[in-house]
Amino acid sequence: MKDTGHADQPVIEAKGLNLVFQTADGPVQALKDVNLTIGAGEFVSFIGPSGCGKTTFLRAIAALETPTSGTLTVNGMSPDEARRKRAYGYVFQAAGLYPWRTISGNIRLPLEIMGFDRKAQEERVQRVLELVELKGFGKKFPWQLSGGMQQRASIARALAFDADILLMDEPFGALDEIVRDRLNEEVLKLWARTGKTIGFVTHSIPEAVYLSTKIVVMSPRPGRITDVIDSPLPQDRPLDIRDSREFIEIAHRVREGLRAGHHDE
């Protein structure tokens, strides 16, 4: 894992975070009193039913939503400052590749905006294409790739500018089980190789348990954290770890947390 130099300083820290959306039907409390600390190099999953605020929290970290009250810092800065320092890459549920750009062109997009020179752009594109195992597909257009490959390309795009934090909002939600398993394995490998801090929103209990060092269980109305589980699973995780007793125990605790949140209503 990459040594960040100041491991004691949290990468993401939320204290008493509230976020209220003003909608036509009146205010909706999307996040209520959220407290969470994420350290460097952690893989944190956010799990919960729709409306629990997991995506909103991720978007708040990325400065796409503004909290109503409380404090939220990313690398000790406000999310907006962190964004300007290119602190994170964001992967959305849909790959969202531009159909008029080749795969390389899509990965080059953030690099162009951030002002990397041509040579650096080319080097980085090649490097991240290899990282997500899409070497040789750079000249293809998105429609020529499968859904899974497109999502890998979008991960490459988020990795291209070397952000320390990778935020993924249900990146594999639209893919089938088999492709999903493969990509989960690859994300773990990627994480081990790059040592990035990853925030990962998911609906799937097995996915959350398989990937994470920390699982944040959330519940809706108002969106809040009901349980934070530090995973005892080892760093190296083959797919069949999902049949182990430890894995099943954590999955059980996550399920209990989800159910408890539901009873509160």
């Binding site: 964004r83 964001y90 159909p99």
Partner: protein, 288 residues
């Protein structure tokens, strides 16, 4: 061949109906002549006489074809009787109006997408502008531009053509520039992209399919606008002037030949726009 067959079938159908209509409409003249001469004509005698009248009510296809051929190839292309010459005058006007229409349409669309106040203030007027009949407006534009000391008809013609062609471009571009969804906009936001970059890298390329769809309508509208601009009295050049000349002097063949010349011009313009679209689409990776 598979695509040509339906087109040819329709074409043959049109020609047949056209001949039938020509016989029917031109027969009146034949019967009148016979009555005045105190003779009678049978149907078989009448039909050939409807085919080569000097001033037919409805000239049959071969007469129009012959006149069109004469107009296109019967003399030097610089002659005032050449349809190539008049066609080129109309083409030039169309291109100026088309260009002006595209620029106006795109700039207005950009402003409308960017500024809400423009959306609310300009868009209704753009729609109202298209409800005013252009034939009523064209003479006014000519008079005003003359008052302003603008020589010749090129500028007012271009303005009339642009008046018609900016609208489809405007409507399509407003839709096209708004085509990117929230996720794509959020993505650029996470890169810290400014408005200019969002426009150049996302909105503009995303609007291209809408843009080209509108160009086909706009180029045809520009041609119509140009011809309307050539109609008011005083014009001596252009296909519109030829059409008017034909109807004023009771020479329907001239009108019909000019009509077909403008149809050919329209076809060529749309073809060029279509080919350009295909070229750009290929570059932009559209699935073929």
């Amino acid at each position: 061949m598979k695509r040509a067959l339906p087109v040819l079938t329709v074409l043959i159908g049109i020609v047949v109906i056209w001949y039938a209509a020509a016989v029917w409409m031109n027969s009146t003249w034949v019967y009148d002549q016979a009555e005045r001469a105190g003779t009678t004509v049978s149907f078989a005698e009448m039909v050939p006489q409807t085919m080569d009248q000097d001033r037919p009510l409805l000239p049959p296809p071969h007469q129009v074809g012959a006149e069109l051929w004469k107009g296109l190839f019967g003399q030097a292309v610089t002659s005032k009787r050449s349809l190539v010459y008049h066609g080129f005058v109309t083409f030039k006007g169309t291109m100026m109006g088309f260009g002006l229409g595209i620029v106006t349409g795109v700039l207005l669309a950009m402003a409308i997408v960017r500024f809400r106040v423009m959306d609310m203030s300009v868009m209704p007027w753009a729609i109202i502008s298209q409800t005013v009949p252009i034939v009523a407006l064209a003479p006014m534009i000519l008079v005003v531009s003359n008052q302003l000391g603008i020589e010749g008809r090129e500028v007012p013609k271009a303005i009339i053509a642009a008046y018609l062609s900016f609208f489809p471009v405007l409507v399509s571009m407003v839709k096209g520039l708004r085509a990117p969804d929230q996720m794509q906009l959020d993505l650029l936001k996470t890169y810290g992209a400014g408005e200019g970059e969002t426009f150049l890298k996302l909105r503009l390329p995303a609007s291209m399919p809408y843009f080209f769809a509108s160009l086909k309508v706009a180029v045809a509208a520009a041609l119509v606008g140009t011809i309307v601009g050539e109609l008011p009295t005083g014009a001596v050049e252009g296909l519109g002037a030829r059409m008017l000349l034909g109807s004023q002097y009771g020479e329907p063949l001239i009108t019909w030949a000019a009509l077909f010349a403008s149809a050919i011009l329209a076809g060529m313009l749309i073809l060029v726009v279509g080919l350009t679209e295909r070229m750009i689409a290929q570059k932009m990776g559209v699935r073929t």
